[in-house]
């Protein structure tokens, strides 16, 4: 069997990614404003308000259990003031990717909504890990966790065509599913995801998380955020939240737990917390069918 991807296939992937929806203009503007020290809460709120579906989702996320706000936030400007620019920027990115992540991903045997659930569990897990080990990146961790598997949307049809070959290759060579994707298709969901993130002009730190979320040690300069998301992904997979035909055919890189000083009881506690937060976030898992664009 030819296990190297053909150039035509790579061309098709690039075309598939080109055909994916762009990041909504609103998000691009919010991202720009959030980085601009001269911005104020009013101007960011006004930009979000131009997209009603987006505004509704941002408010829903802001009022969800993750942010633990003591009272209900009902206006966007209030949300921006209380949560801060960076959080609002991340909420806007999260809200805008819901449609994509909520799709059925038949190549991985994921029903509609399953990839969103998995992504949400990973986002929650990443934030919990970051808080537990007192990293300053807790805020970025949520959105990084949410986006880590976005590449599955792009390579869905390729995997669907060759799922059996990929699985057979993984079992025969005793390698994780993501490495078998690489061997059979010539690319994998992490690479495809990074291409999407670049197309969307997401910050380089997010591109790196998506690109290396299965192999943090392969980065030239290892970044903690990547390992945080790697562990959160592995915990969500282990718990079976939104897992597909690729099941638990993944590995945790050696040294990850030691890096964060985590031991078995910590892992059990983290798993328990992820499950609790997912139960609280039930209303984020079944969102109204609103077209963002």
């Amino acid at each position: 069997m030819n296990t190297t991807g053909t150039p035509e296939k790579l061309q098709q992937l690039v075309q598939t990614i080109r055909d994916l929806p762009a990041l909504p203009e609103v998000v691009v503007r919010v991202m720009r404003l959030a980085e601009d020290p001269r911005s104020d809460a009013q101007s960011i709120a006004r930009v979000i308000a131009t997209d009603q579906a987006m505004a509704a989702r941002v408010l829903k996320l802001a009022n969800s259990a993750f942010y633990g706000l003591p009272r209900r936030v009902s206006t966007l400007s209030e949300a921006v003031v209380i949560l801060g620019f960076r959080t609002i920027k991340n909420l806007a990115i999260a809200a805008s990717t819901f449609e994509l992540l909520n799709r059925e991903i038949a190549g991985y045997w994921l029903q509609r909504g399953e990839l969103w659930r998995h992504s949400l569990a990973c986002a929650i897990g990443a934030q919990l890990i970051a808080q537990r080990v007192r990293l300053s990146v807790a805020e970025e961790a949520f959105v990084a966790g949410l986006l880590h598997d976005i590449g599955k949307v792009a390579i869905n049809l390729f995997v669907r065509e060759q799922f059996d070959q990929i699985m057979e290759h993984a079992l025969r060579e005793r390698i994780p599913f993501v490495e078998a994707e690489q061997a059979v298709l010539g690319f994998n969901h992490a690479i495809a995801g990074a291409l999407i993130a670049e197309k969307w002009n997401l910050p380089p730190s997010l591109v790196s998380v998506i690109r290396y979320h299965h192999q943090p040690s392969q980065m030239h300069e290892p970044e903690t955020l990547v390992s945080v998301v790697h562990l959160a992904d592995i915990l969500s997979i282990t718990l079976g939240i939104g897992i597909g035909g690729d099941g638990l055919y993944y590995t945790l890189e050696g040294g990850t737990l030691a890096m964060f000083g985590l031991e078995q009881p910590d892992i059990d506690a983290l798993c328990g917390q992820i499950v609790d937060y997912m139960a609280q976030a039930a209303d984020l898992q079944i969102q109204p069918e609103v077209a963002v664009r």
Binding site: P176, T238, I243, D246, L248, Y250, L257, E263, C271, V275
Partner: protein, 175 residues
């Protein structure tokens, strides 16, 4: 008026009478435990997440931990008319990450299997069939008419694991 109930993580569902189906979706390291009383047709399923409860935490779902889940579901089934002495069990799940030859602190699946099997043994409930381990995700179904237990491997086929209502069935698998 049968119902089709999904048993979420840490949840317990108990039904009585024919026409009900209980389902646990996406079992990874978690264990789906099916219990059935053939005489009263009381059927129960619990979706166990972790082996052991932390005693200092109140307000937890009892179904979340193997050590609290089994006594809790048996109690619920008895309150719906089942007899603890007639209950039979089948379990599925307990998968592990794909790490050949590497021992892992993430062996939640194996610890869950062990804890559930021990808890069943302590309650004197025969384990009729099990499908645990490996690296696959599973979906588990229990039909209340006859205690039929079906397991589907995500990305694979659905197959019959046991018929817990079959009173002629042997006394169970070696745990």
């Amino acid at each position: 008026m049968g119902s089709n109930l999904t048993v979420g993580m840490g949840e317990i569902q108990v039904v009585r009478g024919a026409g009900n189906v209980l389902t646990a979706l996406g079992l990874g390291s978690c264990i789906g435990v099916c219990l059935y009383d053939p005489l009263t047709r009381v059927a129960g399923m619990v979706h166990v997440v972790l082996p052991k409860s932390q005693s200092d935490k109140s307000g937890e779902l009892p179904g979340k931990f193997a050590d609290t889940a089994i006594p809790a579901i048996v109690q619920q089934m008895v309150s719906m008319g089942a007899s603890a002495s007639r209950l039979k069990a089948a379990i599925a799940g307990g998968a592990q990450l794909f790490q050949f030859g590497v021992s892992s602190s993430l062996d939640v699946g194996a610890r869950n299997s062990e804890a559930v099997i021990n808890a069943l043994r302590e309650m004197g409930i025969p384990l009729q069939a099990k499908d645990v381990g490996g690296s696959v995700g599973r979906t588990l179904r229990l039909v209340s008419d006859n205690g039929l237990v079906m397991v589907r491997t995500i990305g694979g086929d659905e197959r019959e694991l046991a018929v817990l209502g079959n009173i002629l069935a042997s006394s169970g698998v070696a745990a």
